[in-house]
Every structure is written in C-alpha cells, then in structure tokens.
Symmetry: D2
C-alpha cells in the first residue's frame, strides 16, 4: 500500500499531461494511492499540501524546463520546503522526477539533476526511469524512452504542439515511471 | 570602458555584501561603470533593469544557495528573461557569477552551474574566478579563494554570522571576480 | 543480510582511508558483508570483481576529485561497465558515493553528481548521506558533516596532509554513509 | 589570427567526424589555424601536444558521451593536465566543447558540463554554440541545432549509424561552433 504525492508545476499544460501519465502508471499498481499536488502560477500549493507530502511514502517532482532549469514556481515550492527540511520531516521517502520542454535536449538533464539535488537535501532516496533508451535508426517518438532519460522521465513537446499531442513514447515513459515508483515505495517505507 | 550589470538577489544580506565586494573590484579598474540591479523579495527588478542589462558589456549573476540552487526569486528573473532570450538580445555579453551559503559545500557548485547554463541559453561567454585555491593545512578563511571556487566566487557565511562578518578570504575572492570581469569585458564587446 | 560492494580508486591513500571508514560503518550493522574492490592505477579491477558487483545488494562508489571530476581510473571502470549496462545486470541495486579532495569545494559536487548519473544509467537507486550539515561559527572539522555533503560523503584533506590525518568529522561522515547503506540495502533487495 | 587546438577522443569515428566539422568551420574564418590533437585509445596525446595547447589562443574539447560522461581517455588527458594547471599555463584561453552519443538525450549535457568545469579549473573562458534551437513540429535532424545544445554542440548518431551518416543538422552545428570560436578567439588573446 504505497501513498504517492506528485508535486508539479505546469505552465501551458504539457507537464500536467505528463503528470497524468505518471499518475495513471502509479494507480495501475494495486494498492497505490496518488495525491496530485499542483503548484499554482504564483508558486504556491493549496493548504494542507505539505502535510500530504509528509504523509506520503514517495514523492514525484515535475516541472517544465524553462531557461535551463525547473520553473521558478517549482523553486519557490522548494525554497518553502526549508521548514520541513530543517526537521528532516520528508526524510527517507522515495523520490523521482519528470520534465518536459520544447527542444530535443533543452537542458532537461539540468532540471532532473536539480530535482535530485533537492531530494538529497531532504535525505530522500532517488529512483530513476529504469528503462533502456531506444536509439536505433528505426526508432521514433512512438517508442518508449526514445528521449533517453535515465534519472527521470523526459518529454519533448514541440513549440507548436498542444498538450494533447503528447508523443506516444513520452506518455509511456511517464507511465512507466509511475509504475516503478509505486512498486518500490512500499519497500522503502516498510 | 566596460559597463557591468550585477544582477543579484539577497535574502538576509550576505549575498548583498558579496555583491558589494564584486562591485568594488570592478570599479577599481579604470573606466568601468557598474549598475547594481537587486531582485526584490517578490522576484522582480525595478523598471528599466532589462534595458540596463541590454546596454551592459558584462553581467554578473549572484544569489544565495537555497535548497541546492539559486533562490526562486533569481529563477523568476531568469524565467522572465525568456523575452530577451527569444530575440537573443543579451547575446555575446561576458557573464560571471557568485553565491554564498551557510555550509561548507552546501551545493554551491550547483548554483554556479545553473548561472552558467542560464548564460549559455543567452549565448553569453562565461568567465570564472581565475584564482588557484588555497588548500594547505596552514590556510584559513583569511586566504583568498580558500573556498576553492573555480567557475565563480563562493562564500561561506555560517548560519549564525551576520553579513558584516563576511570572511576576509571571501570578500577578496568576490573583489577579484569583479576585477577579472572588468578587465575582460572590453575585449569581448569591442 | 546485505552484501555491499565498495568500488573505489585512490591515488595517494586519502580516498582509501575514507573507503575504510565507509566499510567500518557498514560492518557495524549486523548481518552485513562488504567487498572492497579497489581500482588499480591502470583503471582495472581484479578478476571476478564484476561478478562480485552483480552479486551485491548495494554498491558504493568512491574516487578522489581530480580536475573537477572522478579520477580517469574510475571512469575507465565506468566505461567498462557498459557490458553489464547493456543487459542491465546491475539494475535495482542501492547506490551511494564518496569523494575527497584537497580544496574546500574543489568541485566535489561534480564527482558525486557523476556517480549519481552513472548509477542512473545502471537503473540503480541512489541514497545519500542523510545528515544535516554543521554550519555554525562554533563548528569545525571535528564535526560530522561539517563539509556539508548531501548526496554523498565529502572529505577535505589539505594538500599537505597524509591519509592518516583524515579529519574526525570526515571519518565519521564516511562511517555514517556505510551505516545508512547497510540499513537500507535489505529493503531494496528483498 | 587565431590559433585553435581541438583536443578530442573518438571511439568509433562519430566524434572524429564531428571534430572535422568543427575544424572546417574554424578554418573558414580567415587567418585561423587549427591543430587537431586526437587522444588515442590509451588516453594519450602525441609528444608535443601539451606545448601546442599552450601555444593556442583557444581550445575546443570533444568526446563521445559514454556512461553519462566523457570517455575515460578524455579524462586521462584532463588528469594529466594537472601539471599545466598547477602553473595555470593554459589560463585565459577561450574554450568550447562538443559531444555525440547514440541516444536523444543520453546525458550529453553532463559531458559538456564536465568540459566546462574542466575549463574553469584552467581559468579559461567558455563560449557556447550561440544558436537558437529548432523545436517546432516541422523541424527535423536536417535543421541546425535541432539537438538543442546551448553550452556546446551536441550530435546524435543512432546506434546503427556509421560516422559518415552524420546528420546534416549536427554537421552544421559543429561547423558553426568552429566559426564562433574562431571569431572570438582573437578578442580574448589580444
């Protein structure tokens, strides 16, 4: 029975779509419950969200990659978490992450690396995507992990694509991340 | 004649003190002018600040390291810069950075690395500290670059130290960064 | 009953000393066994080492920080591991890391971040130090985690210090890392 | 009149091909000379190579991305450079970098970030690609910087592609990096 909190920001809906895929994956594992905690445009969470994170076994961080890192709204959440950090209230939770941006690389690795660094300040235990990349000539964005994320799930949404146009491969990668976290969370929290 | 903009956020004054040292170093190079552009507690700059950055030959970024990265207020500035980014209005400026935190390491390298990544999105040219580290047993925080920054100036202000207690070595490292940027900026912009 | 492999390189003995502290911490947890796998000066491990890693529940990576990253000998090991990577033979192990260098910062975070990236390619699960930093004016290198590592254990050995002069705080941080890995490894591998 | 050294390792020829594109770009700028310094399979450069780097105005680093970072052979070169580092003999040179790997992301950013960190230890001045990414639905690997590198030139060569199959967009990105370094190097070294 794993309780997972997905803490994410989405500017135009692409990351929210990715978050839904992660959620769907997690919920496909029997006994899993998921709290969707969306950071608003001012960088705030709704009341009680910190307590929901405290109560979770695992937390999954998500943000678009803007200007080479997570959106400032996500960072505002991270800075606000210095209070639970001080008491290490979120220690030993399983942690994971996902990000999306318009460009092929677009410094997405830096966003995932920030999520990792942040998780380590909270003494959390990081789990990545757990999928091999699809990188032969015949592969395309139809294939799971064609974006080749390792530490997290990476999505590429072209600048003129709307959220519903999420690529099949990216949707499945996000779903697999949710499954992986849901499967490992009970082991960590037991 | 180099025009330098120092764009920085400071939460409790330690980074502001560091910024003043960078400024003093820059101004010690004849013909240099410095604009101090302080990001406020809401992550905003005063009106006209973006134009001042556009007019500068070099820009120096500063922020405390909070929760493993720059403060959210700095990131809000970075995200807002997507407008000049889109037209590459800040291209080819010399860029540098500084950060401070209470802990010895405290993930300060991640903050400097973020400044670097950000500068590269703007197609800027990065210059680091240019000083060897002081790392023998006899060295102390009295020594320049005892904190051992390479890509930027690093300050360590203990959690119970006020801004005026900036260590001699950290103040001098920051001053040297200002000098280095002021010396190289005219070459880049010429 | 956790089986831990410590895979490390040491150039002058400081990292080997740190590795011994990690080992001692791990062995203090009942039921733990530790394999010490030291990479030689040519970047090679003794025969059978890869099989020992395959058999382990957790693997802890160690290297000095040289020129801003792990020693080339460690990277040679990492590159050689592309064979078990291809079959994901080291998947789902718990992973952790430690590094030492002469300078205060000395880009140690980049070495730990590399270990993390490497672990994620192998689909491993990363656990950090789990200790708060000691960062008040009264703190010194006598204090555990005065170096302020989060994602791993960081040691500072001045350029003129021999390995036996390891600071008390650094020795204890390394020992705590060993304990933490030993306590969590059985949960992951169960 | 800029003298550029391209220091690179190539395992199977893809990075060598990329290096040739960088070279061609640099040589297209009048008055530029280029030394091609290829690191061999044992991580060594030919005799006199360090002196050629010392004599250069700019140095461009290249390596495939293997297991989340530069190849060990490149790192062996980096570690060997601790001698010129100690005297800061390579200080104030312009520096840049390129990498290639089979996968879409494949942690290429970490390789470029390592090159950057390495350059900062040598007190060098980093210049990136200076190109906007091509990230609309209509874009493909025919387009310059479709891989979306900022801090350096990124190439994607599928696992079953030979070096001559370098994508048009990647070849042109590499060429543009050479041009950019050649244009700025005289300003830095003057």
């Amino acid at each position: 029975m794993a309780k997972i909190a997905i803490v994410y920001f989405s500017g135009y809906g692409h990351t929210a779509k990715q978050a839904e895929c992660v959620q769907a994956g997690a919920l496909s594992v029997p006994g899993t419950t998921v709290e969707m905690l969306r950071i608003d445009q001012e960088g705030n969470l709704s009341e009680g969200a910190f307590e929901q994170i405290t109560a979770a076994d695992a937390v999954i961080y998500g943000s678009p990659t803007y200007m080479g890192g997570p959106a400032w709204q996500f960072k505002k959440f991270a800075d606000a978490s210095s209070k639970p950090w001080f008491t290490q209230a979120w220690k030993n939770k399983l942690a994971a992450g996902f990000t999306t941006s318009a460009s092929t690389n677009g410094d997405k690795a830096n966003t995932i690396n920030y999520f990792f660094t942040f998780s380590q300040q909270h003494s959390q235990i990081w789990i990545g995507l757990g999928l091999m990349p699809m990188n032969a000539k015949a592969n395309s964005h139809e294939d799971t992990n064609w974006t080749a994320g390792f530490a997290g799930a990476l999505g590429i949404s072209p600048s003129d694509a709307n959220p519903d146009e999420i690529r099949k491969g990216d949707a499945e990668s996000a779903r697999q991340l949710g499954i992986r976290v849901a499967e490992f969370a009970p082991r960590i929290s037991s």
